[in-house]
Amino acid sequence: MVDLNAYHNDFENKWCPGCGNFGVLNAVKKALAEQEIPPENVLLVSGIGQAAKTPHFLNCNFFHGLHGRALPVAAGALLANHDLNILVHMGDGDCYGEGGNHLLAALRRNLDVTLLVHDNRVYGLTKGQASPTSRYGFASSAQPFGSFSDAMNPMALALSQGAGFIARGYCGEVDHLAGLIRAGMAYPGFAMIDIMQVCVTYNPVNTYSYYNERILMIDEKEHRADDWQAAIHMALQPEETIPIGIMYQKETRPFTSRIRTLSDGPLIARTRDPSAVQAVLDELG
């Protein structure tokens, strides 16, 4: 195992003390170390928000782009070089709000990246507005009379669209989360991990104690990962308990293996052949 410190950098962390993102950060380090992926071989891609700052706090390559747009950036990078190890960090607003359309497309592509949604059910960086996963009635400065929308159900969404790796993690269970990330990275295809992440500043509803009282680790023996019915049941159940773990997993065909061109190796590694272009031009007379 690579030393955890190898993933550490000296860039000043900008999260609130006690923020659930620290748990996620530690889980990522752990997962990478356990897989012995040296930091220089990791590419982190993120949108904009508190979650999306994660890459700055790891000693890896990163592209920290626009609010909502991490998945297409990751897709482009993957097309250029499908040997990359890509982790995508997004917030719930980032991924399910502004970036919702890209999530739908990533599911359709079965984009072979691991998506970590730091789901704190609130817009953290912009100071606490309701997010797509905030519950109906969630009150904030921008929603003084409560949010008028129902919460999105990301797990059920992914299940409905045939996703092959769907997991839920919790920032308070770092080792468990590290395991999910490892499994997600090992999965050939789109691995979606929705992480219950506590925002100690703007979400007074979904606190550590809220989760600690409800979290239930999925028992691999009881729950067969390829049982879709059981998975959808879990995804839709009322939040009296919150199962965490791999909800669903099946074999699928990852995006980059669907594209014939890529079977000859990553685009970035291919050599250019000017004579092939000349041949095309010659065909035109």
């Binding site: 920290h64 626009l66 297409p72 897709a75 250029a80 970035i268 272009v277 095309v280």
Partner: protein, 577 residues
């Protein structure tokens, strides 16, 4: 000029106008004639009225022309629409009347030949070949040599069965025979020479330029009139290290391009104004992250959905200023097919050399028209990548992607290619790539980026000037230069003292060269396909020189030499007088 004539094929969308037109164009091309083929579509798939217009000449032509010498009317409606444009002595080929024909269209003053397009096709083996009959009839009227017509048909149907091939040959022959009696005033002298160049559309020219430039990822969302550029590349995915991927929307397309470019390959997208609007934020991200990106904007009339299948040059100011705040970018507007091909090669080169977005600004008239590209298309032996690797760094662990030392262009490395960490953010950042709000970092990065503009403007090619000492200069950019060239040639033949200035490199604005080009003894007048003469405003803002006026169109149609000459005369009379 010996030969100069216009053939128009009109009909409803879905009737196969393109099939007829392509056969005619291929035959003319193979005979060594020059061509300019424009397409006039409505935004619908069937019905309505569309047409394709071929201007055929034995000298290079730069624009479609007014007037029709030969009309091939696939339905009666087309005859009605075009009857007045047919020149005295011209001809219209029309089908026999049959049920379902619309009532309109009873001729005009042109000669009319009724040819049984559908009936003869059935005789030749099936109604589907009505278009081949029509093409045969048109080519017969033009006096095209049989062998030439037959060789083209054989090639066109080479992937089909022998029967299909033979039936089409027969259909063409029957069409020709049906017009054997016609005495057509402009019956061509068929030079029987080698082709004068490649017969391609503007979209193809851009696609092939991108291929030659080693573009490896192309992401797009379909949008007329840009889709052709992407379709023009997609077919080569099996022969090149190239992936063309349809994105879920234009925002995704530009972000995918930036992701691919960041990860180390050349990448592009193509869209039109509405899609470009959605890409604005992404273009800003290419700006602040200094990621090369090539974006083709094929303009159509707006605002918003506008006129989807028509042409315009209304986006110039928008593409120069798109996205919040300021950052360097290039805007290049190729004028011709040859320049389209070359511009793409240059666009990718400049994008990587300066680590900036490059916008290639064309329009529907450019992408959808066909012509003969006469210059040799050079495939660069090497494409320079302007990348650094660990080996070139003193200490890869200390690599600073956004280093401010030096020329303003920071060393660009590829992620996961060595020990150097490539750290990039669309927030303002320190030299190492981490986000930073420090005033020194902000100013350092802003000034570093701005510094590039100085060198970028030196890359700009000066506008081309025709007859600089004329009393009137017509000033145009992009595809509109063609019709201006044509009009200037004709006006000079009529002894008018007129010249032209043609811009293809537009941003950073080549102010010094523009001032030189426009400081001749005469006055200058803008010719643009937008309401406010946007290039004129740029010239005014950057050189202080005022156009004496502007000839503008915003009706979505390509400008024709006749109308332009008419409008130009207004200025010439003043200066002539």
């Amino acid at each position: 000029m010996g030969i100069d004539m216009t053939v128009t094929i009109g009909g409803a969308a879905g009737q196969g106008i393109q099939t007829v037109g392509d056969l005619l164009a291929l035959v003319c091309h193979r005979a060594g004639l020059y061509l300019m083929v424009i397409n006039d579509f409505e935004s619908r798939i069937r019905g309505g009225h569309s047409f394709m217009q071929l201007r055929i000449s034995d000298e290079p032509v730069y624009a479609a022309d007014d007037g029709i010498h030969l009309l091939v009317a696939l339905n009666r409606g087309s005859l009605a629409v075009h009857a007045e444009e047919i020149r005295a002595g011209g001809y219209a080929l029309i089908d026999e009347r049959s049920e379902g024909d619309d009532k309109a269209g009873e001729g005009g003053e042109a000669g009319i030949a009724v040819v049984g397009f559908r009936r003869l096709a059935e005789e030749a083996g099936g109604r589907i070949m009505a278009n081949t009959v029509a093409a045969g009839a048109a080519l017969g009227t033009l006096g095209a040599p049989d062998e030439l017509v037959e060789s083209v048909i054989k090639d066109q149907f080479r992937d089909k069965s022998q029967t299909v091939r033979d039936n089409n040959l027969e259909a063409a022959r029957m069409g020709r025979n049906a017009v054997a009696e016609i005495r057509f005033d402009w019956r061509l002298q068929w030079p029987g020479q080698n082709p004068r160049g490649k017969l391609v559309s503007g979209a193809q020219a851009l696609a092939l330029g991108a291929l030659a430039a080693d573009c490896r990822v192309a992401c797009f969302y379909p949008m007329s009139p840009a889709t052709g550029v992407m379709v023009g590349m997609a077919g080569y995915m099996d022969r090149f290290p190239l992936v063309v991927e349809q994105a879920e929307d234009e925002i995704a397309a530009i972000n995918m391009v930036i992701g691919a470019s960041f990860a180390g390959v050349r990448a592009m997208t193509a869209t039109s104004g509405g899609g470009f609007s959605l890409m604005a934020e992404g273009i800003g991200m290419a700006g602040i992250t200094e990621t090369p990106a090539v974006v083709v904007n094929a303009q159509r009339p707006g605002p918003a959905t506008g006129l989807p299948t028509r042409t315009a040059q209304g986006d110039l100011h928008f593409v120069i200023h798109a996205a919040q705040d300021e950052f360097p970018r290039f805007v290049l507007a190729p004028r011709t097919l040859d320049e389209g091909y070359e511009t793409m090669i240059r666009a990718f080169h400049l994008a990587e050399q300066y680590q900036v977005p490059v916008i290639v600004l064309v329009d529907q008239y450019f992408t959808d028209s066909l012509g003969i590209a006469g210059r040799k298309w050079v495939v660069p032996e090497i494409v320079e990548r302007f990348l650094v690797s660990d080996a070139e760094m003193e200490n890869p662990a200390r690599y600073r992607r956004f280093s401010t030392s030096g020329s303003g262009i920071s060393p660009r490395a590829v992620p996961c290619a060595g020990k150097a960490r490539v750290m990039v953010t669309a927030n303002e950042h320190a030299e190492d790539g981490h986000l930073s709000e420090a005033i020194s970092d902000r100013n350092g990065q802003m000034e570093k980026r701005a510094k590039k503009m100085k060198r970028m403007v030196e890359e700009m090619r000066s506008p081309e000037v025709l007859h600089p000492d004329s009393s009137l200069l017509l000033v145009a950019w992009g595809s509109t230069c063609g019709v201006v060239r044509e009009a200037v040639m004709r006006l000079r033949r009529e002894n008018h003292d007129v010249g032209a200035v043609f811009f293809s490199d537009i941003w950073p604005f080549p102010a010094a060269a523009a001032a030189v080009a426009l400081s001749g003894p005469g006055q200058f007048v803008m010719v643009e396909l937008n309401a406010s003469a946007q290039l004129g405003a740029l010239i005014r803002a950057h050189t202080g020189l005022h156009a004496a006026g502007a000839i503008v169109r915003y009706d979505g149609r390509p400008m024709k030499p006749g109308g332009l000459m008419h409008d130009a005369m207004q200025y010439l009379e003043v200066s002539d007088g």
